[in-house]
Amino acid sequence: MSDDEIILSELPDDELVQQMQDDLYDGLKEEIEEGTRILLDRGWAPYRVLTEALVEGMRIVGEDFRDGILFVPEVLLSANAMKAGMSILRPLLVETGAPKQGKMVIGTVKGDIHDIGKNLVGMMMEGAGFEVIDLGINNPVENYLEAIEKHKPDIVGMSALLTTTMPYMKVVIDALKEKGIRDDLIVLVGGAPLNEEFGQAVGADAYCRDAAVAVETAKELMRRKHNVNAAV
């Protein structure tokens, strides 16, 4: 034990929150669990713990990921730490009826097993307060349609890492159009071989180059959707 060891429970609220953001950045799962419990014990509302400590911490992680300062291994550790905090908060958030950003159905398209990027997006979206339904890998169009029917999401996210699977996104979006539900949904696509023009060409609302951009884009498009709805 070194002299400058930090005892989380001895920190005042503001310093504890900052320390939690740092610990999130460093992917320290146990410290995040501890910090989350301490704030709850001090009477913080679960939603406040979520937004001020976890969401804000993940926002910084996301920015540095976007800027090429952090890469997938570091972000995965951060996201795992965030998940640990979330699992304490989730039941409490439900109980207290905390506000939700929106609901997302996400999955890797048929033929593709890569889920690292998709998992990151899912975790970052959760970290930003969205409800996320993860369909896993290798999803044929039917899986997306079923999940949309069942969960009524605001957002559908599709991921592909292979140049042989990314055209499948168009198959899914075309099916949404055929069913007449395309315009009810925000469709986000991502994956290393994609780009913005590709996203437009398949008929997505946006291409998100990484998980941080996905969160920003989702929030922005949700805001616009609400504005449109409010105007009608």
């Binding site: 070194s2 930090i6 910084i60 890469f71 042989t164 499948y168 071989p193 023009e197």
Partner: protein, 339 residues
Amino acid sequence: MHNPIDALLAEKGVLLADGATGTNLFAMGLESGEAPELWNETAPEKIEALHQGFIDAGADIILTNSFGGTRHRLKLHNAQDRVFELNRKAAEIACRVAAKAGSRVIVAGSVGPTGELLQPLGALTYEAAVEAFLEQIEGLKAGGAEVAWIETMSAPDEIRAAAEAAIRAGLPYTYTGSFDTAGRTMMGLAPKDIHAVADDLPEKPVAVGANCGVGAPDILAALLDMVEARPQATVVVKGNCGVPEFRGAEVHYSGTPELMADYVRLAVDGGARIIGGCCGTTFEHLAAMRRALDEHKKTQPPTIAEIEARVGPMRNKGAAQSGAASAPAGRRERRRGRG
């Protein structure tokens, strides 16, 4: 270990590897989401045509149709129990075509990532990864592949696992990373650090380098870093033919044969010894690359500015501008240590 690549390099100086597998199989009717490897059994004539097209265009090295040939990838298509067979067939098809070529063509067995994260980030143990690659590489070797061509990799430990499997199988190997994220692989491996990945293994790679990625300018920038880091190494670049675009219902790549020819000249000048194309590179592109390679006289390595002037702007920042060192001073330093 005897390796055919060094022998052919000694004869020819710079070698031309082939172009895209997936993109060209699409043009032959592969459906999005289907496993190309299954065609080794169900449509071998199409795979032969793929290899023949590249050999006719002038390839010195062709890659087998086995990129997704580990059990972790094949399980998606319920073919996880046929790893050895599918890979053996992939190599046999390529060898059959190579044997008929008028000149020496090396058959390299393509080995792509498992798609799994290794421990501690994921569930796959290092040893299980080695086993999975070994199963694939043994099939490739049985079918006649002369070298294990480990490609499109992101994670250093996965590269190492595949390299170790090649060594255990008794095949020489090469490996290349896909530097598609801020000048590095998505797992953060910088081009200059690619050499060291296999440094502690008993057999060294025949060549290392970059493939796929985000287009010619970025992969050429990675090339400069790799050559500078270890000038004596044999460096491979096998870059995408521009970026994917949808035209109607089909995916096209933005790179023209002229652009790919210029990419070859710049790659030669930059010190690459094995040059090829990845996604989007058709027979026509490769033929233009062959001509460029045969006619070009090597000159000084280009600067980044010269690369951008000739083959377009870089899409991502370079590796030197990314990573923890690029963070604003003092940013996110832990304020205090904890125990």
